[in-house]
């Protein structure tokens, strides 16, 4: 039997596109966990929330889901700021973030998921948009638009975030907030305010990632869970809080998952990302681009 070159090439391209999407899904965690040291395991729940909002608006008004998510950015930013304020007042200030802070986010994850089940049931929901369906073909390589568009928009978003974090005053304060309290004080910035802004941005990315998710696949409330391990795997692999590292790690994971799914069947794909995470944690906790 010939080696299935076409199959492999398609798997790699699909993995690249998937990886671009994973970068958007992980961006929020890279900021919250990687930079702010807040273990927000509820992040995937916020993503699913974003998916459902895109679904509701799309189903009722026919507006493009990604456009909806852009309109929703301020709302998610405010939501994130509010969640951080509660987290800060209840846990961070008292120094109890380790055990109880984790339980808090776990509870949020659970409440969001069950709340969505109560309102929408467990049926899969999907959106309509002109780019869901058509596929570009270059000889034997398939480029489905429903994958390509999220991937491109996601990479654009990562670029904007990286520019914001490295080129603006507040962005640099965010980068300094966990490592260098002294520099922060010299910049005369209030750490709580900086963290609130950063966490708001982190949750805002969930709106966009949520729209991507429902463009790529139908969504039901518990889908988010599959992403918990994935986002942390990518964040750790990418070197905790480095956005370029996040993009690289996301693409790597996307390709590995895609190849696994193509050659061994989709039911094995989740084990790959989580196995990756376990091995990374065990042997290279600083990540591939880590210090």
């Amino acid at each position: 039997m010939d080696f299935p070159v076409e199959l492999l090439a398609n798997a790699i391209v699909a993995g690249l596109l998937l990886g671009g999407f994973y970068a958007a899904v992980t961006a929020g965690i890279s900021i919250a966990f990687g930079i702010l040291d807040i273990v927000n395991i509820a992040h995937p729940a916020f993503i699913i929330l974003g998916s459902y909002i895109a679904y509701i608006v799309n189903a009722n008004f026919g507006i493009d889901p990604i456009l909806v998510s852009l309109i929703m950015l301020p709302a998610f930013y405010v939501l994130g700021g509010a969640v951080y304020q509660v987290y800060y007042a209840s846990f961070e200030r008292r120094g109890q973030e380790a055990l109880r802070g984790l339980a808090f986010f776990f509870g949020l994850l659970f409440i969001t998921e069950v709340g969505l089940v109560l309102v929408f049931g467990v049926d899969y929901r999907y959106v309509e948009a002109i780019y869901i369906g058509p596929t570009l073909r270059f000889s034997f390589i398939d480029l489905p638009l429903r994958m390509l568009i999220p991937c491109l928009v996601s990479l654009l978003m990562m670029l904007c975030l990286q520019l914001y974090l490295t080129r603006t005053f507040i962005g640099r304060a965010i980068m300094a907030v966990s490592q260098d309290q002294l520099a922060l004080r010299l910049m005369a910035a209030d750490p709580v305010r900086i963290k609130r802004i950063a966490f708001g941005i982190s949750i805002a990315t969930a709106a966009i990632a949520g729209a991507f998710l429902i463009v790529i696949q139908p969504v039901e409330p518990s889908v988010g869970r599959e992403y918990i391990g994935r986002v942390f795997a990518i964040c750790v692999l990418g070197g905790m809080g480095s956005l370029p590292g996040t993009v690289l790690a996301a693409i790597l994971l996307g390709i590995v998952e895609s190849i696994t799914a193509t050659f061994y069947g989709p039911s094995w794909a989740p084990a790959v990302s989580f196995g990756f995470l376990l091995l990374t944690l065990a042997f290279r906790p600083a990540g591939i681009l880590g210090r």
Binding site: A98, A103, F106, L118
Partner: protein, 315 residues
């Protein structure tokens, strides 16, 4: 000496519960009571690592399901009495707990928690792809209608879980008051200071993951006989993870009685809510109670009671 008195009191209480339920002639009580007791074991097991050592395990469902699937695998091979299955399920989950500890406990607490989440999915994927135990379709386990001496099978299962719950609480209480408990508490408070005081922190943490995992596996071992049909979705249900965290946090994490109070309270509320409202709503209740308690009463019900007592004695 006091340990034995405690054990006798616990056994007497247990016997009271069992014969009381039997006197009422209502099998539903046994079905519901079994679940509450199962959660009592899970909450107690979680607390050995989470409450005593301060390491949050999100992977309760994995250890629990490993126990259950060990039973399924053995049942397919040749049926065995449930106490033997519990022992084997405990061994399998204990070994996995030890392995997970080796992989991750050198890292900061948050990484450990994330790794446990990852482990849960890896184990679930492996089980889903393992056809011998039914794969994604699930497996049927035919249970006998009656058991000698006890009578109906559900009463037997209830009795088994009751004994297991008493053993788990007894073990947790014994650990808490021994050198091991002091060592665990020193790890929770400050690992660096614990090392400097001569505490072999890594070895102690491995003991905690092993013990905690083993009890979770034991709680899961009788599950296939209770449900009659087991598939990955029910064995790995996230409700196990949420409850096993919520119950100790609601009751109080530093003593053995906290998880007991939390499990009896939350477990009973959920059983009532499942019957009277719906199972989705009862899960929502658990989530809200968990978030509410960690925010408002960080030391749980026990903490509230202690604060009340202290305020009274200060007056």
């Amino acid at each position: 000496m006091r340990f034995w008195i405690f054990l006798l009191v616990a056994l007497a209480l247990g016997a009271g519960v069992f014969f009381g339920a039997r006197y009422l002639h209502n099998d539903y009580l046994f079905f519901a009571g079994y679940v509450v007791l199962e959660y009592l074991v899970l909450a107690t097991a979680w607390n050995i690592l989470g409450g005593y050592c301060g390491y949050v395990n999100f992977g309760t469902a994995a250890f629990f399901a490993l126990g259950a699937y060990t039973s399924v695998a053995i049942h397919k091979f040749s049926p065995m009495p449930i106490p033997v299955l519990i022992l084997l399920g405990g061994i399998v989950s204990g070994i996995v707990g030890l392995g997970m500890g080796y992989l991750t406990l050198r890292l900061r607490g948050a990484f450990f928690s994330i790794a446990t989440l990852a482990l849960a999915v890896v184990v679930q994927t492996l089980i889903t792809n393992w056809d011998y135990v039914g794969g994604s379709r699930g497996a049927y386990v035919v249970r006998p209608a009656t058991v000698p001496l006890v009578g109906s099978y559900i009463q037997y299962l209830f009795l088994v879980m009751l004994v297991l719950a008493i053993l788990a609480v007894f073990a947790a209480r014994m650990i808490e008051r021994s050198w091991l408990g002091y060592g665990f508490a020193s790890i929770r408070d400050d690992e660096l200071a614990a090392e400097a005081s001569g505490v072999p922190t890594l070895r102690l943490k491995l003991m905690a993951t092993t013990l905690s995992g083993a009890f979770m596996g034991m709680a899961g071992a009788p599950l296939p006989y209770y449900v009659g049909y087991l598939d990955p979705a029910s064995g790995f249900n996230l409700a196990y993870a949420v409850n096993s965290i919520a119950m100790p946090l609601v009751g109080g994490t530093t003593t053995w009685i906290g998880p007991v109070i939390g499990a009896l309270l939350l477990g009973t509320v959920q059983q009532v809510a499942t019957v009277t409202i719906s199972s989705a709503v009862n899960l929502l209740i658990v989530g809200v109670v968990l978030v509410g308690f960690v925010m408002i009463a960080p030391n749980g019900i026990i903490g509230l009671i202690e604060a009340r007592l202290r305020a009274r004695s200060d007056r």
